[in-house]
C-alpha cells in the first residue's frame, strides 16, 4: 500500500516537472502561441492543398485528419524530449542511482503530454469550426473527446518508444522528424487509406493515430460511439503495446548501460 502511494507520487511529480520544464523552455507566452498557431498552420497548409488537389467537398476529410494528427507534436516531440533530455543533462546516473520504480518514472514523464496533446487537438477542432466550416452539430462530442484522448495516449506511447531510442542514438531530432512525417502520411490524415497499396495499409494499421482519425471522421459524420468502439479499442491496444515495448526498452537500456559502462556516453 505504502509503495503504491510512493509510486503514484513519483508518477505525478514526473508529470508535473516534465511539464514545468517544458514551460521553462517555451515561455508561457511562446507556449500558448505555439499551442494556438501551430495547429492553424498545419491545417491551413494541408486543408488548402488537399482541397485544391482533390475537391472542395473533401474539406472535412482534411480538417479532421489534420486536427487529430496535431497530437503527434506532443506525443512524439514532447515525450521524446522529456525522456531524451536526461542524456543531455547528464542526469541518467543520478536517476538510475535511485531506488525509484522505473515504471512510474517512465510513464510519469509521458502523462502530461497526453493532456497537452489532447488540448492541441481540441484547439485544432476549434479552428476547423471557425475557419473551415466544420459542422459538429451531428456529433457526439463526448465520444469525440474520448477518441481524442485514446488517440493521444497511443501516440504518446509511440513517443515513449522513440524516447528510448533517443537514449541510445545521437540523432534524436532526425528520427523524430522522420517519424512525425511518416505518421503524417501513414495515418491517413491526408490520403484515404484505400488509395494505398496493401503493404502501406499494413503499416498504417500498425501505427497509432490511424484508427483514431478514422473514428473521428465517422463521429463527425454522425456515427454513434457504439459503432466506432471497435476502432477505439484497437487504438487503445496499439498504445498499450507500444507502451510496453517502450518500457522494456527503457529497462533494457538501463541494464545494458550498466553492463557496458555507457550510461554517460552515446
Amino acid at each position: 500500500m505504502h509503495t503504491l502511494v510512493v509510486n503514484i507520487r513519483l508518477f505525478w511529480q514526473g508529470t508535473l516537472l516534465s511539464y514545468i520544464a517544458l514551460f521553462h523552455w517555451l515561455r508561457p507566452v511562446t507556449y500558448t502561441a505555439s499551442k494556438i498557431l501551430m495547429p492553424l498552420a498545419q491545417m491551413m497548409f494541408f486543408v488548402l492543398l488537399g482541397t485544391y488537389a482533390t475537391s472542395a467537398s473533401n474539406i472535412n476529410f482534411y480538417v479532421i485528419g489534420n486536427a487529430v494528427q496535431i497530437t503527434a507534436v506532443s506525443g512524439i516531440f514532447g515525450v521524446t524530449m522529456s525522456i531524451g533530455n536526461d542524456r543531455s543533462m547528464g542526469t541518467l546516473p543520478y536517476l538510475f542511482g535511485t531506488p525509484a520504480n522505473r515504471f512510474a518514472l517512465f510513464f510519469g514523464r509521458a502523462f502530461m503530454h497526453v493532456i497537452d496533446g489532447a488540448l492541441g487537438v481540441v484547439i485544432a477542432f476549434m479552428w476547423g469550426v471557425l475557419l473551415f466550416n466544420l459542422d459538429l452539430s451531428n456529433t457526439d462530442l463526448s465520444a469525440l473527446g474520448l477518441t481524442i484522448l485514446v488517440t493521444t495516449f497511443s501516440t504518446c506511447a509511440l513517443g515513449l518508444l522513440m524516447g528510448c531510442l533517443s537514449l541510445i542514438t545521437a540523432n534524436v531530432m532526425f528520427i523524430n522528424n522522420t517519424v512525425y512525417f511518416l505518421l503524417l502520411i501513414f495515418s491517413g490524415a491526408n490520403v484515404a487509406l484505400d488509395k494505398f497499396p496493401l503493404w502501406m495499409q499494413t503499416i498504417s494499421n500498425l501505427l497509432p493515430l490511424t484508427r483514431g482519425i478514422a473514428a473521428s471522421r465517422l463521429l463527425v459524420a454522425g456515427s454513434s460511439l457504439e459503432s466506432i468502439s471497435p476502432l477505439l479499442w484497437q487504438e487503445l491496444l496499439i498504445g498499450v503495446v507500444y507502451g510496453i515495448i517502450g518500457y522494456f526498452m527503457f529497462a533494457a537500456f538501463e541494464t545494458v548501460a550498466k553492463r557496458r559502462g555507457t550510461l554517460e556516453t552515446v
Binding site: 520544464a21 547528464g90 557496458r260 559502462g261
Partner: protein, 323 residues
C-alpha cells in the same frame, strides 16, 4: 559490519575503435581492488588521472556492473541487492552536470525526493533545511541553469542528502570551487561526518585528503598501492625532507640538473604565474641545499625553505612521480 566492503573488484571496459575497420580494445580500469570502510569513517581514495577511482565509485553506487569480484555497501551486495544499496547511499560525481537546468533548485530537489520515495511532509521541511545547510537559502526558486558552477555543486550536496543516507560517495566534490567555497564545502563534509555518516571521498587535493580523511587508499593503475592513515602514509617519507626553492622562470636544463643529483629522490614543480616552486625530495635535509642551489646557478631564485614532508610528498613517492 563494515559500511563498505570491496573484494577483488575488477572492471574491464570494451571500447570500439575506428569507424570502418572496427576493432575492440579492452581497457582494464580497475585491476584488483579490495578495501573496507568502517561505519562513520571518512575514507579517501587517491590516485592519478585514470587510476580507476570513478570506476570504483560507479560500481559501489550500483551504476556499473563489475566484471568480477564483489562489493557490499551497508551490508548489501551492490549487484544482487542494488535497490537496497540505493536506498542507503548518496553520491556525487563532481561537476555541474546531472541536474535539470530548466527547473528551479526547489523543483529539482522535489523531484529527487519523490525518486527516493521521501514522504512529502518530510521533504517539505528538509528541502529548506538542506538549502540552508549548503548556503543556497533564498535561491531555491531560481532556475538551476542560472546558477554558478559552485551553486550547482552545492545543490548536488542537498540532492544527495534528501533521503538522509548513511553512506556517501563523493567523487571530486570540490573540483572547480573557489578557495572559500571549497573551504565551506570541507566544513560541510566534516559536519556530515560528525553526524556519523560514512563517507568515501576522492580528491586530487592532498591537503584536503590530509585534513579530512581518517584513512586513505592510494590506487594506481587499477590497484591499491597503499592504505593507511594520513600520518601513516607520511611515514613512508619520514626519511625525506623537502627543499623548496622558489624560482622565476627556471630553465628546464637547470631543473634536470637538480633531478640528476645523486641524493635527490624526486622533484615536483608547482607553477604559479611568474614563479615556480621546486620541491626537491631528499634524505639529506638541509645539507642538500648548497648543491641544489649550485645546480640552479644562474637562475633567478627566491625563497629557499627546508620542510617536513607532507601527504603530497608521500603521494608523489608512492605513485612514482617526478611530477
Amino acid at each position: 559490519m563494515d559500511a563498505i566492503e570491496v573484494n577483488h573488484l575488477h572492471r574491464v571496459y570494451r571500447a570500439v575503435i575506428g569507424v570502418i575497420r572496427r576493432s575492440i580494445k579492452e581497457v582494464v580500469a580497475v585491476g584488483d581492488i579490495s578495501f573496507a570502510v568502517g561505519q562513520g569513517e571518512l575514507f579517501g581514495l587517491l590516485g592519478p588521472n585514470g587510476a580507476g577511482k570513478t570506476t570504483t565509485v560507479k560500481m559501489l553506487t550500483t551504476l556499473l556492473i563489475p566484471t568480477s569480484g564483489d562489493a557490499r555497501v551497508g551490508g548489501f551486495d551492490v549487484v544482487k541487492q542494488a535497490n537496497e544499496v540505493r536506498k542507503r547511499i548518496g553520491f556525487i560525481f563532481g561537476g555541474e552536470r546531472g541536474l535539470y537546468w530548466r527547473l528551479s533548485g526547489n523543483d529539482n530537489l522535489r523531484y529527487f525526493a519523490s525518486l527516493y520515495g521521501v514522504d512529502p511532509d518530510i521533504s517539505k521541511k528538509r528541502i529548506p533545511a538542506l538549502l540552508e545547510m549548503v548556503g543556497l537559502t533564498g535561491r531555491g526558486n531560481e532556475k538551476v541553469g542560472g546558477y554558478s558552477r559552485g551553486m550547482k555543486q552545492r545543490l548536488h550536496v542537498a540532492r544527495t542528502l534528501l533521503h538522509d543516507p548513511d553512506i556517501l560517495f563523493l567523487d571530486e566534490p570540490t573540483i572547480g570551487l573557489d578557495p572559500v567555497g571549497a573551504r565551506e564545502f570541507r566544513q560541510v563534509i566534516l559536519d556530515l561526518q560528525s553526524q556519523k555518516k560514512t563517507i568515501l571521498l576522492t580528491t586530487h587535493y592532498m591537503f584536503e585528503a590530509d585534513m579530512l580523511c581518517n584513512r586513505i587508499a592510494v590506487i594506481n593503475q587499477g590497484g591499491v598501492i597503499a592504505l593507511d592513515t594520513p600520518s601513516g602514509l607520511k611515514k613512508h617519507v619520514s626519511d625525506l625532507s623537502v627543499v623548496e626553492v622558489e624560482t622565476f622562470g627556471a630553465a628546464s636544463e637547470a631543473i634536470e640538473k637538480v633531478r640528476a643529483l645523486s641524493f635527490v629522490d624526486s622533484v615536483s614543480i608547482e607553477e604559479h604565474d611568474q614563479r615556480q616552486l621546486l620541491m626537491v625530495q631528499t634524505q639529506r635535509g638541509a645539507e642538500a641545499v648548497p648543491e641544489v642551489l649550485a645546480a640552479l646557478d644562474g637562475q633567478r631564485l627566491g625563497r629557499v625553505v627546508v620542510r617536513e614532508p607532507t601527504l603530497e610528498d608521500a603521494y608523489v613517492r608512492l605513485v612514482g612521480g617526478n611530477a
